[in-house]
Amino acid sequence: MGTYVPGTGEEQKELLKSLGVAGMEELFVTIPKEVRLNGPLKIPDGVSELQVRKKMAGTAGENRVFPSLFRGCGAYRHYIPSIVKQVAAKEEFMTAYTPYQAEISQGTLQAIFEFQTMICDLTGLNAANASVYDGCTAAAEAVIMCRERKRNKVLLSGALNPQIIETVKTYMAGTGTEIIVVPAADGVTDKTELKRLLDEKTACFLIQQPNHYGLLEDYEELGKLTKEAGAKYVMSCNPILLGILKTPGEYGADIAVGEGQSLGLSLSYGGPYLGFMAAVSELMRKLPGRIAGQTLDTRGEKAYVLTLQAREQHIRREKAASSICSNEALCALTASVYMSVMGKEGLRQAATLSMSKAHYLAEKLCGLEGFSMAYEGDYVNEFTTVYKGNTEKLLRGLEDYGILGGLPLKGEDRGKIIWCATELNSKEEIDELIDRIKEVQTHEAGI
């Protein structure tokens, strides 16, 4: 049995003795007998570090890591510079708690302040928080920020990542807020429908840049319509692409949110990830979660603290803006290091490479038998194709070559595949994908 208790045996006895207690059981006398466990827990006996590492290595080995990957839809395999992982692994950052004691937590606090600044710079807005759980919950929190007594209708673009829609729905269920999904047409939000649905009861409209299908929408016009109805305009963005795309700030958005995983975090089967949130200054006090602020210390020197805590659960309890307490601080730090290493040029390069590779991939794919683009609009790093053959067989066939193809859609979108490319997909890899698709197609035709 492994243990992290320093003193077993003799030492335990010493401690018990100094407490005047005969045995461990006596320490638990306040627990009613009826609820005390009689037997041992039915959990395998503990093992040595060597054994547990071996077992878990075996479990990890039961997962297939695809050397070549063309799938995104909310989780992206971008290049992670070596120094990013190395800095984020520093024990001090790893093993600290939330920076309640500012004097011995200036490192964490300054890092949050820097992260907030970077998110503001990326989004073109002026107030950001220290992070929330992930991109989906960031969207839900943004919707909560927008609710007003007289505005309890929330419009969601039908071209949002479905997980965002689902999460917002769960968050708002039973709170008296009406959630309406504005249908998509040709892969983008139907403007006419949006116009029809917007009214004086609308709290906000939430849209994605680029959207679930990879398309860029008419954010200018959609924002105008939303603002005209007096509703808040919320954009969910891909942070790396904000290196080149027009910002929520420029589009007049009130709030920008997004999934920060691309900024130096590994895929990790979905988590830990990083929800980021930024808003116009007027909404600063409505932001949920931790916010670091600058101030002065008793010596007159610059210092950082957690601030605007009056919004938070430990002060306001049931009247708090959100119940969030732990967030994704270490992921935010990781993203900060990533952005410091990349800088604006690096972000631009990552975005441009991803875009160019995606376009090359799309062109090559559409040169193949049975493939065509699902939609006509502009796209960046992701796009959707229609495939006339059997998508399942196609993708399984590619997996045998170590390639994870795009994401096959279900239901009415059956036959569509959302593809993604990043700077990690070399031309060679894309060309190989194309060759393999041909092989799979030939093979299938042959049988």
Binding site: S18, N63, Y269, R316, C331, L347
Partner: protein, 480 residues
Amino acid sequence: MKLVFEKTREGRGSVLLPPLDVPETELKACFKREKELHLEALPETDISRHYTELADRVYGVNNGFYPLGSCTMKYNPKVNDEVAGFSGFTDIHPLQPDYTVQGALKVLSEAEEYLGEITGMEHFTFQPAAGAHGEFTGLKLIKAYHEKQGDIKRNKIIVPDSAHGTNPASAAMAGFEVINIPSNEKGLVDVAALKRAVGEDTAGFMLTNPNTLGLFDENILEITRVVHEAGGLNYYDGANLNAIMGIARPGDMGFDVMHLNLHKTFSTPHGGGGPGSGPVGCKEILAPFLPLPRVKKDGGNYILSDEGEDSIGRVRGFYGNFLVVVRALTYILTLGGDGLKLTSQNAVLNANYLMEGLKDTYPVPFAGPCMHEFVISLEELKKETGVSALDMAKALLDYGVHPPTMYFPLIVHEAFMLEPTETESKENLDRVIAIYKELYEEARKNPEDIKNSPKKTVIGRPDEVMAARNPVIRYEFPSA
């Protein structure tokens, strides 16, 4: 120290990405960002130094004693981090087909099984990313349950006044009205008040047990029975589970749903604020409402199942903070059933030893053997010397130990809530006792000195009022 933005200039940086090997695609002008980014890259040397400097200004468990009550700042084993770094865990896409991620699904499935055994719950979801997120999810389950029964008038959640702030906040977020009830003179739930509070509108009752005074509620069975009899459900805030693993189980105490904090009880690092993981466990009656997808076994294979029309839906993208679950599972497998019990025993033993060592100097308002944590009051000291709990906390910084949770629970004045955890040795506890005693003498002899602390930290006390009144929450780049 300077901000990262103040340490570089244009044109710096590393060559990280390859040149373009396909034709370049030009973005249409109308989609292009016009406002120039300010973010400048730093050369590696300076990044390395910047974050080393920041790390030097952080105090973690590896730096020393960290008895932050209710936060369970135990040692974070390195093998867990190593395992969570295996490529087979970090390099898999969350939308890979199930048959290519059997290992990942096994992790979730095994963790569900073992946490079920530890808590007495029958099902677990790992979607919640932190404790408060777990509370929110659990309360949504309660809501869905009553609605499914057609019992739509149940819209109140009862919460004791000693509860963590997240409890009422999560209840409100989940769309409930919050009813606060006071504690009794022993610091426990006032059962009479509870009886008065329950009724046809009771959706549920939330309890942290052992509570924030470190006390196990002796009336636990009566409490859960009262709530059940009134038609409500019982929610267990598992933040303090470190006291009772292998000793008692919330599932056996009448609780229907609960959350755990893997970053507390199960030793995963807190990262200066997160990522946490707040899995929610429940009894069979609530299982139909759990978030989707869920991990199921289909013959010899694991699958992610989307089936469940009564599900509350999704509370987060994908499946939760997966790598945190990997760490927690590694921890559970290392310790095994007996090791988990030993952990709780020693957490309680250490807390009692520390309390015993301090109690002659610092009054313990609610005495008796404590569980994993306890509360001391500095009220007398303040009356005598004017030195507050805050002052004492700041003075502790100069001794190189982390202060306890302060001013909580609210029912104790000038409170210090201490939770040493099981990973501290006797010598460490003895050293801390000596420091606390010395500090007490100091406070009586030189109260002004204590009020002016800390002195050895990189900054003095920051002006929090200034920060809140005139919030500066981002750096303003000098205009070009």
